[in-house]
């Protein structure tokens, strides 16, 4: 596992991070000159209107996309200029993703979905399986292991997705609107789980959302508007 090490080493460090989309002839800035430092074990809530650049920032941090310019360091990996295979390793070992629309594979059972990242990373099968079962027990999905996603409720699907994000012990969890497709009760449950996981295992959690559910749990709040980042004082 990545050594996230001494308290003062930041887990995420960006300088002038910019992503410009060119569609047809015109170009749109997804995010513009973002400077951001996040320490290990923080729980950060990233807020902003729709279209403000939250997803863009997350996709860069997750190694799903490349910045147009600027520096980007996550857990010691320089994501600014890397080859694709390196990004694959990064995605396998450093981050776990949670999406608004869950994105479970419909053809795999709950257990298989959770196991998938471990299998893709060629981790030993048996320990991974034990870990997956533990995670599912913790998330209250014990009886759902052999079910297919289509047979689950929205909340159950999102909890499966959280278990999947955790299977490879990532240092960073990125959640993009994780409650966007859930009712408020399930939304709160998911937020509580993410907070508990941040507390228990000390992994860094970054939640992009425009709901207020996570405000109370966050150690830090960031605001994006039109691609520009603004820090918000936190009460906690």
């Amino acid at each position: 596992m990545m050594e996230t090490g001494a308290r003062r080493d930041p887990l995420i460090l960006t300088r002038n991070l910019t992503r410009i989309y060119t569609v047809g002839g015109s170009s749109v800035a997804g995010i513009n000159a973002v400077d951001l430092v996040i320490a290990p074990a923080e729980l950060v809530v990233l807020k902003g209107n729709s279209g403000s650049g939250k997803s863009t920032l997350l996709s860069l941090l997750a190694g799903l996309d490349r910045p147009t310019s600027g520096d980007l360091l996550v857990a010691g990996h320089d994501l600014g200029n890397r080859r694709a295979t390196d990004l694959t390793d990064f995605r396998r070992n450093v981050v776990g993703m949670v999406f608004q629309s869950f994105n479970l594979l419909p053809t795999l059972t709950v257990l298989e979905n959770v196991l998938l990242p471990a299998l893709l990373a060629a981790r030993p099968a048996e320990p991974a399986r034990r870990k997956a079962e533990e995670l599912l027990d913790w998330l209250g999905l014990k009886s759902r292991r052999e079910h297919f996603p289509a047979q689950l409720s929205g909340g159950e699907m999102q909890r499966t997705a959280i278990a999947r994000a955790l299977i490879n012990d990532p240092a960073l969890i990125l959640a993009d609107e994780p409650t966007g497709n859930l009712d408020s009760r399930n939304g709160r449950l998911v937020m509580d789980l993410l907070a508990e996981l941040n507390r228990r295992s000390g992994c860094t959690v970054l939640i992009a959302t425009h709901s207020d559910l996570a405000d109370a749990l966050a150690t830090r709040r960031l605001f994006l508007s039109d691609g520009a980042l603004r820090e918000d004082a936190c009460d906690a």
């Binding site: 997803s55 863009t56 997350l58 996709s59 997750a62 799903l64 996309d65 490349r66 694709a84 295979t85 694959t88 995605r91 396998r92 993703m97 999406f99 608004q100 629309s101 869950f102 994105n103 479970l104 594979l105 419909p106 053809t107 795999l108 298989e112 998938l116 990242p117 299998l119 893709l120 990373a121 060629a122 297919f148 996603p149 289509a150 047979q151 929205g154 699907m157 999947r164 994000a165 490879n168 993009d176 609107e177 966007g180 497709n181």
Partner: protein
């Protein structure tokens, strides 16, 4: 009208724009359909050209005749003419003689020579001379009668031979070569169109002298007086010599037509399979569109579209693809027709009747038919997805999250109907053909394809479930994920498997059938076409051995080769209850010493001595199947002047022509009936050392020196080789049709997989997001292709074996009357099936390459 307008507009908005958004897939589907339609159309048009040429030729030759008097197996004696001339029922009559002749010392092909009495014939056949002649005030037909060895050529023939009116041509025939003076050329029209214009007319007396047929004619055409009753015609028949037969002029045309049509049907069905495979392409595109656009459909429904509207939209999508395919097929057919017309007419000429298609008769009906077939197939293919689109509920517009593909359930539900289809083949294959067409057999083939295609989803899921866990350990996670995808996949993926199954089955069965056929023909050729040198009258083959070899040459031939055994033979072209067959009487004892038969029914041990003695005849399988005569029955025939009754001793295989063959002892025939003469002879050298070839050459040279201008010769080796060459050429068409079906199936794999990749962009991106590498994701698609190909090949092979059985024992038997010794060409299958598999995998490459076109970050964009 307004409703139609509205529909067209919605269709353009909803369907056409969607198709043009992904032009690649639509183009592949259109190309697939186009290939299928082009093959189908060009095959139909090519055979039709032959059929049309044959019929027109026959019609011009038959002219206005109402009845035709013929002598079965021989010539009508001119002594019958006075009887006809004086009979009150007969209004007009005209004796006719026809044969093929060849320009001497010229590479030009043989052409058709008609001998008539120009005066008597005027009521029967139209022919007009080139203007030039009449201008000089002469009466050309009078010259034809008055001046021996004159003829009139058709214009194209005159041009080909490089002669004009007044010029001379030398012609070869059985009695040698003779020079003719060309009186005039024919205007194109009437008789001049016979045989595609390769025709010449001469006076009957000249003809008889040239061919040595003094006092005989081929037939006498008759026109009766108005109001002639059936009794009067019966009276006429009884007044004629008993051995004469009166037939309607259409008899020969009908049997020729029936044979060509059977051939056309076979090729049509074979070429239709490409269209059938193309159907899978249309299905896969329309079905995937309907599934991928489910939410849009729900929105449309929520906005007020009726279920019927959605149904029609998808049906129209199928129709549009079919229409586009057919349009693209037009230039493709143009290319194929050029080649096919030639090959097809050659096959028909060797197997059935001589045809000379000169121009492409573009029958409106054939064009319409192929258009209809293409459109029908495309709309049928869209039917099921259109039904599914109808069922989308408006409330789905509000649902979130993905739906699970409806896989397992439907797949298992299809097994029973699939098994039903396959099982139905057994009783169908036992049923007789309808009107000589193996309709139940074709139905069985269709059901077989449908059955195996319906089984494909179940097999695919089974294979996924079975192999996925094991392959995870052996081949890694991509194989596992591919298996997981297939085990719960819907019927849609199986579509390309259905196409592959069909194409592989067709391939395997044709490989087996053609191999069986060829091996049997090889055996037959070695046995029944044995002999070192074959000698016949000049132009004997093209004239179907009708002219016997003159006595003095027979005597000479017997003296020429003391060191060789001689098997004399005579062939008669006869009919049994309308079915044309050939009676071959041959020197049985000597023949059996050197050659033999490929037995089908009867015990050779006991039959051979009886056959040698002439106690009875052998009939070919075709003859037996067509006439119903078999061992123990008696064959009655009128041969020249003798009434012949022959018990059938056994049934043997023979592939000489599509007609039947009957073999009988020459010597016994002469004892019992009359001297048949020789129309051919084969030599077997007794001393079969390594110098047989030299002996053949020596004998051949000697015969050529003495009788070269009156005999045709071919060495046994060359004859056997040419038979096998014709065989291979005949099946070249089949091979091309087969190849195209395989190409269309490969296109099916390309479309299905490409669409599956596009449709699953989100899933594949998710895999990338949770740690899948590009190689792993490409691996998944490649493994999916591998599963598809594996199922396609295995099921296709099984289906192919069943199909080969149907082809050999049902379709061939019912359409042509013959079967073959069933042998499987394991070698060819062993190297070609992996090759097909690799090609099919290759067809997956575009899909594999299209993976991860967009960065996985698109996952975070919510639609």
């Amino acid at each position: 009208m307004r409703r139609l307008n509205f529909f067209v507009r919605v269709f353009v908005w909803f369907s056409v724009r969607n198709l043009t958004r992904h032009p690649g897939r639509a183009l592949i589907v259109v190309l697939g359909i186009a290939l299928g339609a082009a093959v189908f159309t060009s095959v139909r048009i090519s055979v039709h050209a032959s059929l049309d040429a044959f019929n027109r030729s026959m019609a011009h030759v038959a002219g206005a005749a109402e009845q035709v008097a013929v002598q079965p197996g021989g010539y009508v004696s001119e002594t019958a003419i006075p009887i006809l001339a004086h009979h009150p029922a007969v209004s007009r009559f005209s004796p006719v003689l026809t044969t093929y002749v060849r320009p001497a010392r010229s590479p030009a092909d043989a052409f058709f020579l008609i001998g008539i009495d120009p005066i008597l014939d005027r009521a029967f056949r139209q022919w007009q001379l080139d203007q030039g002649y009449g201008a000089r005030g002469q009466i050309p037909w009078a010259d034809l009668i008055a001046e021996p060895y004159t003829l009139i050529l058709s214009q194209p023939l005159a041009a080909e031979l490089g002669v004009a009116a007044g010029g001379r041509v030398e012609l070869d025939h059985n009695r040698g070569t003779h020079a003719f003076r060309v009186l005039a050329t024919l205007n194109p029209g009437g008789l001049a169109l016979v045989e595609g214009g390769r025709v010449a007319i001469t006076d009957i007396a000249t003809y008889q002298e040239f061919t040595g047929l003094l006092g005989g004619v081929d037939r006498i055409d008759l026109i009766f007086r108005p109001n002639t009753t059936a009794q009067q015609i019966d009276h006429l028949a009884s007044a004629l010599p008993e051995s004469l037969e009166m037939n309607p002029p259409s008899a020969a045309r009908d049997s020729g037509n029936a044979m060509i049509r059977a051939y056309q049907l076979n090729l049509s069905v074979l070429s239709f399979i490409s269209l059938f495979v193309g159907m899978f392409l249309v299905y896969s595109l329309v079905a995937l569109n309907a599934a991928a656009r489910r939410r849009e459909l729900a929105v449309m429904r929520a906005l007020g579209a009726s279920p019927g509207m959605l149904f029609r939209l998808f049906l129209a999508e199928g129709a549009l693809l079919g229409l586009a395919g057919w349009l693209v097929a037009i230039p493709l057919s143009g290319l194929m027709v050029n080649y096919l017309v030639r090959v097809v007419s050659r096959t028909i000429s060797t197997l059935f009747v001589r045809v000379q298609p000169e121009s492409l008769a573009l029958s409106a009906w054939e064009v319409l038919f192929s258009f209809g077939a293409t459109l029908f197939v495309s709309v049928m293919a869209a039917y099921q997805p259109a039904r599914a689109a109808m069922g989308v509920a408006p409330k789905e517009a509000m649902e979130i999250g993905q739906r699970m593909p409806q896989g397992r359930y439907t797949a298992r539900r299809l097994v029973l109907p699939a098994m039903g289809c396959i099982a139905a083949c057994a009783p169908l294959s036992l049923m007789r053909g309808i009107a000589g067409i193996p309709i139940p057999g074709y139905l069985a083939i269709l059901l077989l394809f449908v059955g195996f295609s319906l089984l494909a989803p179940w097999m695919l899921q089974g294979l996924g479930r079975l192999l996925a866990p094991g392959l995870r350990r052996v081949a890694g996670i991509p194989a596992y994920l591919a298996g997981c995808y297939l085990r719960s996949s819907g019927t849609r993926i199986s579509v390309s498997v259905g196409a592959l199954i069909t194409a592989v089955a067709l391939f395997a069965s044709l490989v087996i059938m053609i191999h069986s056929f060829r091996r049997t023909v090889e055996l037959w050729v070695a046995q029944t076409v044995s002999g070192d040198l074959f000698v016949t009258t000049k132009m004997g083959e093209i004239n179907r051995y009708r002219f016997p070899i003159p006595e003095e040459i027979v005597a000479g031939l017997q003296r020429l080769a003391p060191e060789a055994d001689v098997v004399e033979s005579r062939r008669y072209q006869l009919r049994y209850e309308g079915f044309p067959y050939e009676l071959e009487v041959l020197g049985m004892r000597t023949f059996l010493r050197h050659g033999g038969f490929v037995w089908l029914k009867g015990d050779p041990e006991t039959i051979l001595p009886r056959l040698e003695r002439g106690d009875g005849a052998l009939v070919s399988e075709v003859f037996s199947n067509r006439t119903g005569l078999t061992v123990g029955d008696r064959l009655h025939a009128q041969i020249e002047y003798s009434r012949v009754v022959l018990p059938v001793l056994g049934v043997v295989r023979d592939y000489r022509t599509d007609g039947g063959i009957v073999f009988y002892s020459w010597h016994r025939f002469r004892e019992l009936f009359h001297d048949p003469g020789w129309s051919g002879v084969r030599f077997y050298f007794q001393n079969r050392g390594p110098d047989v070839d030299d002996q053949v050459v020596r004998l051949r040279n000697e015969i050529a020196q003495r009788y070269g201008d009156r005999l045709d010769m071919v060495s046994g080796k060359a004859l056997r080789q040419s038979i096998l060459e014709i065989f291979d050429e005949t099946f070249a068409v089949t091979t091309i049709l087969l190849f195209i079906a395989l190409v269309v199936a490969a296109l099916g794999i390309t479309t299905t997989l490409s669409i599956l990749v596009l449709e699953r962009t989100r899933q594949l991106n998710t895999i990338a997001a949770v740690g899948g590498s590009e190689a792993q994701i490409r691996g998944i698609i490649l493994w999916e292709a591998a599963y598809l190909v594996t199922v396609g090949e295995i099921a296709g092979l099984v289906c192919g074996f069943v199909l080969s059985y149907l082809l050999v024992y049902v379709i061939n038997r019912q359409s042509f009357g013959w079967t073959f010794l069933y042998t499987v060409d394991w070698g060819a299958l062993a190297y070609s099936l992996p090759l097909i598999g690799l090609t099919a995998l290759g067809a997956a490459i575009p899909a594999v390459r299209s993976v991860l076109r967009q960065p996985p970050a698109t996952l975070l964009r919510e639609r």
